[in-house]
Amino acid sequence: MQVTDRLSHGLEAPICLTWELTYGCNLACVHCLSSSGRRDPRELTTEELFGVVDELEAMQVFYVNIGGGEPTLRPDFWDLLDYSVEHHVGVKFSTNGSRITTAAAKRLASTDYVDVQISVDGADATTNDAIRGNGSFDVATTAMGHLADAGFKDFKISVVVTRNNVEQLDDFAALAASYQAQLRLTRLRPSGRGADVWDELHVTAEQQRTLYRWLLDHPDTLTGDSFFHLSALGEPLPGLNLCGAGRVVCLIDPVGDVYACPFVLHDQFKAGSVRDAGGFTKVWRESPLFTELREPGSAGACASCGSYDACQGGCMAAKFFTGIPLDGPDPECVHGHGEAALVAASAGRPPASPGHTRSGPVPVSIGRRPA
């Protein structure tokens, strides 16, 4: 049986559930997928967070990917971590590192059920800070040092691949190795503030080919299946190689709204809310949007492409936010069908929403330097 057939019957629970705890962030990265900055007054309360964990436990969700915003800015973050672990829901959380003090690192290293992912977007301060803000590289590497010193092996260093850092893949691998960490590379998508910078920062066709070969040569690199559109170049990359939105993947946002994937924060992809009667379970198992996404999709404009089995038309979010119809080619189609589609679609891009972006100057100091 094909994976897609299996998934069309729906999984009892998502495999890759992202849970963003807050829109608050002490950075203002130019490509933030959730346009984070200010906290939202409607964010879930501590009690509601615990309620969601109870549901995830009952659904036997193995682990959640916690993010934000900067999740550690929530005063109840550490309580939530403990609560999840006690309830057999493993936690992988993404952070800019600003709160990973020596003490926090020791605490994190003491359990198998928590994994940490530190984000950097350049292998040196200049490249990184251009995207993530002044001083952010130092903060991130200080946090990595704390984790390594605490004996936390195999934490993740997570990089969004851009035109400006794609030449540094070997440097990222070396950086990860120096902390006994694992490298994770993900795709830049035109989501959130990413829509504003995607045209300048997404990798070129030539760079995509280099990236593809690099990934084949480094099969231990984690990618969260982000680059499956590159499988159309030949040998498939490891992974499920399909868009998992609403089938394998979903997002709970800070106010409890459930979306098909973390990269589609838009009403069209909102399936419901954990605050609705029946909670997250009902949204996952019964929402009309998810039911529809689980149907085998039509190949549309890609139907005549010999690589459709490998690429399946690529990423829904990348298409949607560049105005390409959902059954059109991926804007970064490796056979070059994205360019024409982008030109045809340029008028149809959904208007950018400021989301929770803070107004005024981007902060350059990002809180206390960890001790």
């Binding site: 729906g10 629970a13 036997q60």
Partner: protein, 83 residues
């Protein structure tokens, strides 16, 4: 014949196609695509050897060699442990 048990760090979630197994230590996810295999994996600890578990799960005897191979692979990837 080896005897197996579900690895203590593995969570097993029934799904329509069989089950998903997740190892909290090495963080690997495994698809178990058949109900009989799931039954063997769940009950393996109750039997003295693997054949006992295969018989109890109703696996036809001519398929035992194939199942033994799959189970050995699951032990290698630490979904099962030998005991």
């Amino acid at each position: 014949m080896p005897a197996y048990a579900l690895h203590p760090q593995v969570g097993l979630r029934p799904e329509k196609f069989g089950a998903l197994a997740y190892h909290y230590g090495n963080r690997r996810l495994t698809f178990l695509n058949d109900d009989k295999l799931v039954a063997v994996v769940q009950k393996a600890h109750e039997y003295d050897d693997v054949d006992g578990a295969l018989a109890a799960a109703g696996v036809p005897e001519q398929n035992w060699p194939a199942y033994r191979t799959v189970l050995a692979r699951l032990a290698e990837s630490e979904v099962l442990q030998c005991r």
